[in-house]
Amino acid sequence: MRLELIKRSAPAPAMRFLSPLLGLFLALIAGAIMFSALGKAPDRALYAFFIEPISEMWSVHELLIKAAPLILMGAGLCICFQSNNWNIGAEGQMIVGAIFGAALPILLPDVQNFLILPLMLIFGIMGGMLYGFIPALLKAKFKTNEILTSLMLVYVAQMLLDWIVRGPWRNPEGLNFPESRRFHEWARIPEMMPADGRANWGFVIAIVVAIALGVMLAKSLKGFEVKVIGTSPKAAQFAGFDAKKMIFFSFLLAGGCAGLAGIIEVAGATGQLRPTVSPGYGFTAIIVAYLGRLNPIGAIVAGLVLALTYLGGEAAQISLGLSDKIARVFQGLILFFVLACDTLILYKIRLSFGAAQKGAA
């Protein structure tokens, strides 16, 4: 038996929407098999993983807290990936954004007024942009592979954060714990409904940014430029679009989104700088972008789905006694199956039985 791909005369629009759903479905089936292999009843396990975590109000709040950085970074990465700029260093850009934004309340703890929070957000954005600028510059000027440089910079950013939290920015009153001083009230993002749960306005910022990027991509000439440069570089040149400027545009934009996500994370849920600010959100955001069809609006839905896998991992740990690493497995499976199903957009699949007859002569 052999699998053959038959090219469609035009991309199938229905498949663009069906493929991620089919991918999710297959990932669930694979997950069920995995749970059985681990000796858990699959229906019970899937329920504990995907339904229980959002059956109560406070846990829905937790979902939104986790979804905010995923949506922000996923939406930014959509622009990068659509323009064929492979920024896989959002994790590092998020960390540097968090450090930049946190600098204000940590270094100037006595400046406490309403201006501090907006300034922190701006600093966060600038930090992420600055860190995204490095691989962009190296790609545009030296043609250095941006996949490798942006990824290497993640490790560097993690070390920078580790150093700064254990060293110069360690809380002077913190009993030598590796963490910064706690942010004062003016430097915290307010919670939306403190009575119900911890979710803060960062989620709303994420939605607004994703919608704005979605409109930009679908309606504006800049969005058109992003798509043309990504699908057909020579046609882009013919249209007068500058691929080098696009490298900077997309990296700065995604870096800015990641930086914003970083400062929202530390000024929102955490309230201080710790040696890790993200459980791999920057990498999960890559999955968000793909599951969301590289469309910022789609990234909103995909961000919520992947945020659920984090909660599910925690739930699996508590109620099933499994490792929370199962979340990573699910995330990998989702990306894997979505990519597989995306084949159906451009191709029809045919199974041919009985391979080519040999040597009839």
């Binding site: 150093w163 894997f336 191709y347």
Partner: protein
Amino acid sequence: MGMTEAILLTIATAATPLLIAAIGELVVERSGVLNLGVEGMMVMGAVGGFVIASLTGNPWIGVLAAIALGVITSLLFAFLTLSLAANQVATGLSLTILGLGVSSLMGEQFVGQAGKKLGNLDFPFLTDLPLVGPLLFGQDPIFYISIALVFGVSWFLFRTRVGLTLRSIGNNHHSAHALGIPVLRYRYLAVMFGGACAGLAGGHLSLVYTPQWVENMTAGRGWIALALVVFASWRPARVLAGAYLFGAVSIGQLHAQALGIAVPSQLLTALPFLATIVVLVLISQNVRATLINTPAMLGRPFVPDR
């Protein structure tokens, strides 16, 4: 054994996993396929090698398991990118994410356990020779495999007809297809070879380098191996040089930390990654060499017409 020998030996041990993973990826990329999942295949090899060695008590069976898991993981990539023509960059990333997740799950009960170490060779008399003895005759078996792989792959690519065919596919898969060369079959085999190497490299980490299982214990080595292939402009001998250079950098920073040099340890830990960036920038300056050696089809999917 003197200090110099000890340092040289640790450099070799640090370089070996990089070298093996990079040489495997080199063959994959020479066939025109970009597999960014080296980190994922490597970590699967590490956990598989450790777990099986612990269960059987035999590190050699662990090595075989590491290779097998590397190959199995690579087959997932091959199926998506070759049979389904999926985007190679994204699929490689998904392989890394999946590998890190599955390996954590598999290795959870083994964290903190003492592992089975693959012993160094010891020839009576030969190994006792000063300096060259321990370096040439007293290392772990995988070290010798890594050196053999460099020469073997170099000979295969540039001296055999099958190697020529593989390079031709990486240069132009349309031409190869027109001549009747089974493009996808060659690429499947190349990707599997890359998986075997990455698995072996992971096995080296958990059975030789630090015989224990630690979550994410590859710590970016798969990515450095990918960078090494670019650094080497797809030539096996240069991969050897590059791997030892990086081995030296990472051992150097360990010694610097041990000596308590007045530099933050985090900066030293980040050093190999910073060095990689610098080296990548330098190598991308040589346009002509890059143009000649880069497999022209790198990362492009191939779907035969029927």
